[in-house]
């Protein structure tokens, strides 16, 4: 099913992303090996000039990657009407063995891109390119992920066919089924809810603290790692919570655990604001977590806390919105899981 408009758009974007990263990798390797700011050699001048292009290209490419994550989920959702047995994006993603791995890689790339963009911004703030080696080393790590993601995505869409009968969310996210999805769906709602809100409170508190102390130029050393770890934990707990109890409250049906049906018009498209806030908020928290610790680098002593504070502020706002929206969805529901 390659001839479907969103699919064509996705293929264009992912080939551009892969091409951009592939072009960036040889340059990144040269930077990692030969970068020497003290040298006035021609090679160093070329590297310094090249870095402005590469960071502009990659900024664009990685922003396109975020766009393609949204488009991918939308394409899966809209193709579900053409695939036998598919009622929502789950059915489409499940129709080939490559669907869910492609989605997972896209999510990983999204956060990798967020971290890279944060490092790149910070690097440009310093006058002596303090992070140039680190950021290009990270780039070398992201490139194979992007290539694998483009390949899996292509295989997924090429393998989709209306004749293949797929199973949808009813069987994948069911309490009785086997596999990770079923395990998560089978989590008891009480502990899942506790993990959801406790990890949420922790990440919000850490983000707010970073925003407060870093915004006043205070040291945030050590807080970076804690914030990063809290953000990753809260993200996992949030996804598990959506499957285990939030979806049930929204659908008002005790056995419907699908995280993708939230994107449907029948449930007020609740999934779009919910997931946008969660993903953007987590990305901001990670950006704050990687920016903060560089305050000890001399040329970033002012810039790093400022950037960390700004990212942490956005993380608090976006994640706060996510938890408020989730709570509202639970409170307005007519379903009671706890008698």
């Amino acid at each position: 099913m390659l001839l479907h408009p969103p699919v064509l758009a996705l293929l264009v974007v992912s080939s551009l992303v892969t091409a951009g990263l592939a072009l960036g990798v040889p340059f990144a390797l040269r930077v990692v090996r030969h970068w020497d700011l003290a040298s006035g050699s021609e090679r160093q001048v070329r590297l310094e000039r090249g870095t402005s292009l590469v960071s502009a290209v990659l900024g664009l490419v990685l922003a396109a990657q975020a766009l393609s994550l949204g488009l991918f989920v939308f394409a899966a959702e809209s193709l579900s009407s053409q695939i036998t047995g598919a009622m929502c994006a789950t059915g489409t993603l499940n129709a080939t063995p490559f669907g869910f791995p492609a989605l997972g890689l896209k999510v990983a790339l999204f956060f990798g891109a967020a971290v890279w963009l944060a490092l790149d911004r910070l690097d440009r703030d310093g006058d002596d390119y303090p992070l140039v080696r680190g950021k290009y080393a990270l780039l070398v790590g992201l490139a194979p992920l992007a290539a694998a993601e483009a390949l899996l995505q292509f295989l997924h869409f090429a393998g989709l066919s209306p004749e293949v009968i797929t199973s949808c969310c009813g069987s994948l996210f069911s309490v009785e089924g086997a596999g990770v999805a079923a395990e998560v769906a089978g989590l008891p709602p009480g502990p899942a809810m506790a993990a959801f809100y406790l990890s949420g409170a922790l990440v919000l508190a850490l983000a707010a603290r970073t925003w407060w102390t870093a915004g006043r130029g205070g040291a945030v050393l050590g807080a970076g790692a804690a914030l990063g770890a809290a953000a990753v934990t809260a993200f996992a707990a949030a996804l598990a919570g959506v499957v285990s109890f939030l979806s049930v409250y929204v659908y008002e049906s005790p056995h419907h655990h699908c995280p993708f049906c939230l994107l449907k018009g029948g449930y007020d498209y609740l999934g779009y604001p919910l997931y946008s806030a969660l993903f953007a908020g987590t990305a901001c928290a990670l950006a704050a977590a990687v920016s903060g610790p560089f305050a000890r680098v001399r040329s970033l002593a002012l810039a790093a806390p400022r950037r960390a504070a700004r990212c942490a502020g956005w993380a608090s706002v976006l994640l706060g919105a996510f938890y408020l929206l989730s709570t509202w969805a639970v409170l307005r529901s007519h379903l009671g899981l706890f008698p």
Binding site: L2, L3, H4, P5, P6, V7, L8, A9, L10, V12, V13, L16, G20, R49, S52, L53, A56, V57, L60, V61, A64, L67, S68, G70, L71, F74, S78, S81, Q82, I83, T84, R124, P162
Partner: protein, 378 residues
């Protein structure tokens, strides 16, 4: 930080306005491309919505009889068999067929309405047929029936133009006239339409029908809907693929545009660098320029495509997407814009444009100011 971007944008807009002609031509080509792509996308998705809305009222299950793998009239006796199946709320025989009219060179759909059929010797007629044969209420039109004898029909009514997508080629006639016209003997029907009480039982009912009546084929509404969806999406994709050639041509054009910076622009970049702009600023300024051109062209093309599809009825695209019938229905699609469709179009146009203009711009931006200015004067 924001103020800096605002100044850059301010400068960019002034620079764009200084070279109106050059950018206007780019804007036109770009806008035309977006227009073509957006028309295909909007029209395709509107047709799919229309098809889905129409099928909502179709029977859940249609039972056809097959003889030698071809559709054959179904005996009335099958009706009783089907009604016995538990879960079937109602089953009605239907009489419909096609008639090729040599005079207008078109195929008509002839149908006996289930409720309130017209009296014998008269017909209710769709607007498309009326247009092609020049018919008005009260006219008598004659066709040759299955025995090649004339069958006169008086037009009593023209069908509502709001339903033209469905009724353009439609003739509603009485049962006796239908049987005479198309040669369907008494006791035979075209197919059976079944209503199933519980939506989840449709497949089971279909299974029971094939078991009770092995020479029949049940057609599920859900399957018809999926087929329509796939066909329209496929045609949309073919349209887009054809336009991909245009997309490539445009990418080459944009690349050429950006790499062939005029001497004046080179000098401008040289001056900017000489007064203290760094490479990043120049790149950002050029990115802003690209963004302004892109977004303007995108908006322009999209709005024009919207008008083309929903107000003008997509005259440029109808033959590709609607089918190849002789009688085109005239109908207005319900305006509808999918945010994700906009996103897809954005990814297809703005992202590649920005990507191809970046490298040439960077080449100009990293050059040393004195070299650029000297080069420009030579």
């Amino acid at each position: 930080m924001l103020a800096r971007q605002r100044y850059l944008l301010d400068y960019t807009l002034a620079a764009l306005l200084r070279r109106k002609g050059r950018h206007l031509s780019l804007l036109l080509v770009y806008g035309a491309l977006v227009f073509a792509l957006a028309s295909v996308l909007l029209f395709g998705s509107a047709l799919r919505r229309e098809a889905r809305a129409l099928l909502q009222d179709a029977p859940e299950l249609t039972v056809q009889r097959l003889v030698a793998g071809r559709h054959d009239p179904i005996p009335a006796a099958y009706l009783a068999e089907v009604r016995k199946i538990r879960g079937v709320a109602a089953a009605e025989p239907r009489l419909w067929g096609y008639y090729y009219d040599p005079a207008s060179g078109a195929n008509y759909t002839v149908l006996v309405p289930a409720t309130d059929p017209p009296p014998a010797g008269s017909a209710r007629v769709g607007r498309g047929v009326a247009r092609s044969r020049g018919l008005a209420v009260g006219d008598v039109v004659a066709f040759r029936d299955a025995r090649a004898e004339p069958l006169p029909l008086r037009v009593t009514h023209l069908l509502d133009p709001a339903s033209e997508l469905l009724t353009a080629d439609l003739f509603l006639v009485a049962e006796g006239d239908f049987r005479r016209w198309l040669g369907v003997p008494e006791g035979l029907y075209t197919d059976l339409a079944l209503r199933v009480r519980n939506g989840r039982e449709v497949r089971t009912v279909a299974d029971k029908v094939t078991r009770a009546l092995p020479d029949t084929r049940p057609v599920l509404r859900e399957e018809v809907a999926r087929t329509y969806d796939a066909v329209f999406a496929w045609r949309e994709g073919v349209g887009l693929l054809l336009l991909c050639a245009a997309l490539f041509a445009f990418a080459i054009f944009a690349w050429d545009r950006a790499s062939g910076l005029s001497a004046e622009e080179r000098r401008e970049i040289g001056v900017l660098k000489a007064v203290g702009w760094d490479t990043g600023d120049v790149l950002r300024m050029k990115l802003w320029e690209g963004a302004v051109v892109s977004l303007t062209a995108f908006l322009l093309g999209y709005v024009l495509a919207y008008a083309h599809v929903f107000w003008a009825g997509a005259p440029l695209l109808a033959p590709l997407l609607k089918g190849w019938a002789t009688l085109y229905p005239e109908f207005r699609l319900v305006p509808h814009v999918e945010p994700a469709g906009v996103l897809a179009l954005f990814a297809l146009t703005v992202v590649p444009y920005t990507a191809v203009t970046l490298v040439p711009t960077w080449r100009a931006a990293v050059a040393d100011p004195d070299a650029v200015m000297r080069g420009a004067q030579e």
